[in-house]
Amino acid sequence: MTVYTCSPDLASILTCIYEAWNSRLGYRNVRLMTEPVGNLELFCDYCHVEPDTEKAASVTRSIQKKIGATAWRLVYLCAMSERSDAPDIIYRFLLYGFSYGKDTLHMLQEPAVFHAFEVSRQVTNEAHSFREFIRFANISSGFPILVSHISPKANVLTLVAPHFSDRLPSENWMILDDNRQLAVVHPADRPFYLTRLSPGEIERLSLTESTSDPYEELWKGFFTAIAIKERSNPDCQRTHLPLHCRDHMPEFKNL
């Protein structure tokens, strides 16, 4: 068994798939995973793959041409997942994809296809929950800027940013992924961009979570007033809004 490993970003994952495919070892004899590799197995060769834009682009092209745009979207979503077997899931999906073409998307009874489908759904669901639960704090240092901290499992920044750039086109805002040290920055009336943060920037930006915003108090008041005591149902609340989502939400601070 040969295990191809790569770092968990899109270009590396696609290159990794390219290498696994190109090795001609056969799909039974390869496995793909993202680094860091936890438990090393005894009878496996580990082979690290460096990202290569050319190879990644050629994989992208083949997927779009042979299986279609919907399948490419599915692959992209899987690549954003935090799971260490994400490249493997994509690889197994592509095995079917390249032989059955567009029809693959309907073959949910094949475990490989269903797996990819399930992982992509987990990622979209998480991205959707951030559309709901992201909270901006207003920081004014000369001009107003909205800052939000999130700690998502999957890499959802590029999935939520288009939503907010449509919604708040003329505001300065940024969303920071505390787990990955990535940020989406949107200057007012201009397109947003993705950027990696330096440790210094992270430290400065982490202060924004403790500054107080007068509207947070108003919002907390509203949040308490709107609940009906006679219908109190914390279980139902927890189903819709799990505890791990509440870390960055002002209405659950010091409750």
Partner: protein, 479 residues
Amino acid sequence: MQLSSQTLSLSEKLNLLADAAKYDVACTSSGVNRAGKQGHLGNSVSCGICHSFSSDGRCISLLKILQSNDCIYDCKYCVNRAGNDRQRATFTPEEVCTLVTEFYRRNYIEGLFLSSAVCKNPAHTMELMYRTLHLLRNRYRFNGYIHVKAIPGAPAELIEKTGYLADRMSVNLELPTGEGLQKLAPQKTQKAILKPMRQIQSGIVDYRLTAGKSAFLERSSGNRYLSHSIFDTRKQISASAADLGWISSSSARSLPEKERSAPFVPAGQSTQMIIGATKENDYQLLSTSQLLYQQYDLKRVFYSAYIPVNEDSALPSRETKPPLLREHRLYQADWLLRFYGFQADELLDEAHPNFHAQLDPKCDWALRHMELFPVEINTAEYADLLRVPGIGPKSAMRILKSRRSSHLSFEHLKKIGVVLKRAKYFITCEGKMMYHMRLEQQFLTRQLTGEEAASNWEVSHPEQYQQLSLFDAAVPGHI
């Protein structure tokens, strides 16, 4: 009682008027897709977005407030009735606008839900609400979702002008029958409530026809494959409605052309009813909803379990528990009407006027129609799959998609995410049932009620769950 609202701070007013609005249901922000615009704030997404969940488990999507709680009416069930000794306050339009835009920028809310008590008179109240919306859309350049209540008795022109600024409008039906209304809200009449509802409907029809759409609101896409859903039969009903002069495209259009350019209530209108305050049975309630969907083309009907807030001889006693399970059943049945092609008289009739306490309406229906089961997964039509308890539009669609490429077995169904908990009793895969068992009503009822008991109990007793504690000293006689 006559505390002047001038002395209240913004935060006190917000708490007061949100608290007064909390009994309004329908905090949805769905039904309209609108892209953002540069220089404006906000957009709208047709699936709707919830932004938080309050401790009663209800979603918070919109900033739900009253413009004023200073009411001249004395409806017996309402917290804001004139006879109650409560602090009264009224928001100025600017205050509402500031709250909406500042909350919206921080992604706390999806838009505004503006209702109001009748302050001075209906015309004054509606005018105030119109001014709020006008300011919000034009000066504050707010492009997000707005749901506004139409006040019965307000001038038609004001309601129309408001409709061009809002995404959804609603008129509260309050109680399902005219007699109930007479008894509990003597200052309101059903005729006065239905009038603005009809006006809004004809406004929507006008707008939709001029925009080149069909006269009726879009419904769930699955309804295309259903042969006798409630929305199918409405075509004949509305044809006769046009004869009766209910819908007329030449209705009084008082506004000049340029003010009419915006979409009129694009997300449709809704209404809400209180259940459990009067003696109606579920059959009457559900039939009323169906009529409202068919004749007024409402997007949604909401049900709100009666919560006793006032002491009155005409009302149930203060100790009454809100009928949460009944509310839950009505919502389940409402979904069956709108997404599953059921009609009210299939689910209930004079002989069974109320829903089964232990079984959901679809299971209950299926057990009374065992002659239609089992359904063969590999050949059944979409409409028949939808009637199987435990299979909804999503599962049914997935089954249709997957069976194109191969025959499906129970293992496959599990893999594609079809939940078999209830469905297993009613389906076959390639002629075989999942377990060897008798398809017999008595036996299945016992099986299904056993499985549902726990979750039903949770719905009706949301707060009484308690973890047993090993070291609980509160047991009398032990310490």
